[in-house]
């Protein structure tokens, strides 16, 4: 049996190797082959997930919603103390000092990360801004989002907070944060497809024990995770309901 694993494309590029190390580790634990496929585009990944190509998905919260409600996946674990938060930033020299200073017609820059972009747009609502009265340029990475701000090619940019925090100080010092979300209960999750659900207790056990041995700890570090915690069906449903309220 070969299990197919994929990871939401919003992880930091520095941790690509970490996911391959995790793949090898998981293979050994389960005693079966695990094939990891990474994407740089959310839409293509979503298409393949919907086509039933994957058994295990480390999904961003918006895709987790689709996986559970439409495709019958079940969340097994979530990363420990790692909520998904969003930052809206601008050039440090900009006259814009808070979200309400942004005007209709302003230029935004973002990746195609669905949860960051949704939360970002929600945090623009106090300025009466939405998709209809702003211009959004989509770029391939958060580094490019930052470059657009540094070069004053955009008024504001959306970042996954983790990705923003990992930018170099040289780059961060040339930007200022307008607002940072503090939602706490929206996070990635590892989900298992309908065909594999009898293995959930086993997979859960391996993952929860990861942080208690040196080898597992090393693998977690390479993915920039502290560990995993159980995600119950009701916690998953709660997060999905919450996300549902954020989609107009």
């Amino acid at each position: 049996m070969i299990l197919n694993l994929t990871v939401s494309p919003d992880f930091a590029p520095d941790h690509i190797s970490g996911w391959y190390i995790f793949n090898t580790w998981l293979q050994r634990q389960l005693g079966t082959r695990v094939h990891l496929e990474l994407y740089d585009c959310f839409d293509k990944q979503r298409e393949d997930i919907k086509a039933g190509k994957f058994d295990l998905v480390y999904a961003n919260p918006f895709d987790a919603s689709m996986l559970v409600r439409e495709l019958g996946f079940k969340a097994v674990v979530r990363p420990l103390a790692k909520p998904d938060e969003t930052i809206i930033a601008t050039n440090a020299e900009s006259t814009i000092n808070n979200v309400e200073d942004l005007q209709p017609g302003c230029q935004l820059v973002a990746t195609d990360d669905p949860d960051v972009n949704r939360i970002g747009m929600i945090m623009l609502e106090p300025a009466d801004l939405d998709g209809d009265n702003t211009k959004l340029k989509t770029v391939d990475s958060y580094i490019i989002v930052a470059k657009h701000l540094l070069n004053q090619q955009a008024d504001a940019g959306f970042f996954l907070k983790d990705a923003y925090d990992e930018l170099s100080d040289l780059i961060k010092n040339q930007m200022k944060v307008l607002v940072s979300s503090e939602i706490s209960v929206v996070h990635h999750a590892l989900l298992v497809g309908p065909k594999l659900q009898q293995y959930i207790p086993q997979i859960q056990k391996f993952l929860l024990n990861m942080s208690s041995n040196e080898k597992g700890k090393g693998v977690l570090e390479s993915m920039d995770l502290d560990g995993w915690e159980v995600m119950t069906d009701e916690e998953t449903e709660f997060m999905i309901d919450l996300i549902d309220t954020l989609i107009d």
Binding site: I122, M123, E125, P126, A127, D128, V179, S180, S181, E182, I183, S184, V185, E237, F238, D241, L242, D244, T245, L246, D248
Partner: protein, 153 residues
């Protein structure tokens, strides 16, 4: 609220849909919505609060223990027309999502405005409760809502 001028306060009897009422002290003082936060609560199908996040506790001025088990209407500000809440219940009981701008009453009598979204929590095809998520509204939407609600009182 010790810094409040006593002339800012008024006492109002708030009547709830279930026939109960309470006298509340109302201060004409707005507490700004906290940047970047979402206020999250869940209720059972009768509107009894079963979950309140920290932002809800902080903004409402009630402790977690004071909120859990109470009807969500303890936040109802007397400037909110009852027809707005009738529309909310009609929408969510029909299984749909409700959006609206709401002036909420804090425990200390001050108020805060939110953009609220409420959805039914459906488990195995059955509505088991509701989730309400509030976010920061724009000043223009608050002004529009204030004007509209005055006509509905």
């Amino acid at each position: 609220m010790s810094e409040q001028d006593s002339t800012d306060v008024r006492e109002v009897v708030i009547n709830y849909y279930d026939g109960t009422s309470r006298t509340a002290k109302i201060y004409d003082r707005e507490i700004p919505y906290p940047e970047g936060k979402l206020i999250v609560s869940r209720t059972d199908t009768k509107g009894i609060i079963t979950h309140a996040n920290q932002a809800f506790v902080d903004m409402s001025g009630y402790s977690q223990d004071e909120l859990i088990g109470k009807n969500h209407y303890i936040l109802r500000h007397p400037d909110m027309p009852s027809v707005a809440f009738a529309g909310l219940w009609e929408t969510i009981e029909a299984g749909n999502k409700w959006h609206g701008y709401v002036k909420n009453l804090r425990k200390d009598g001050a108020y805060y405005w939110v953009k609220a979204t409420v959805i039914p929590n459906i488990r195995n095809g059955v509505v088991v409760g509701y989730t309400s998520v509030r976010r920061k509204p724009s000043r223009s939407k608050i002004a529009e809502s204030e004007a509209l609600y005055k006509t509905l009182m």
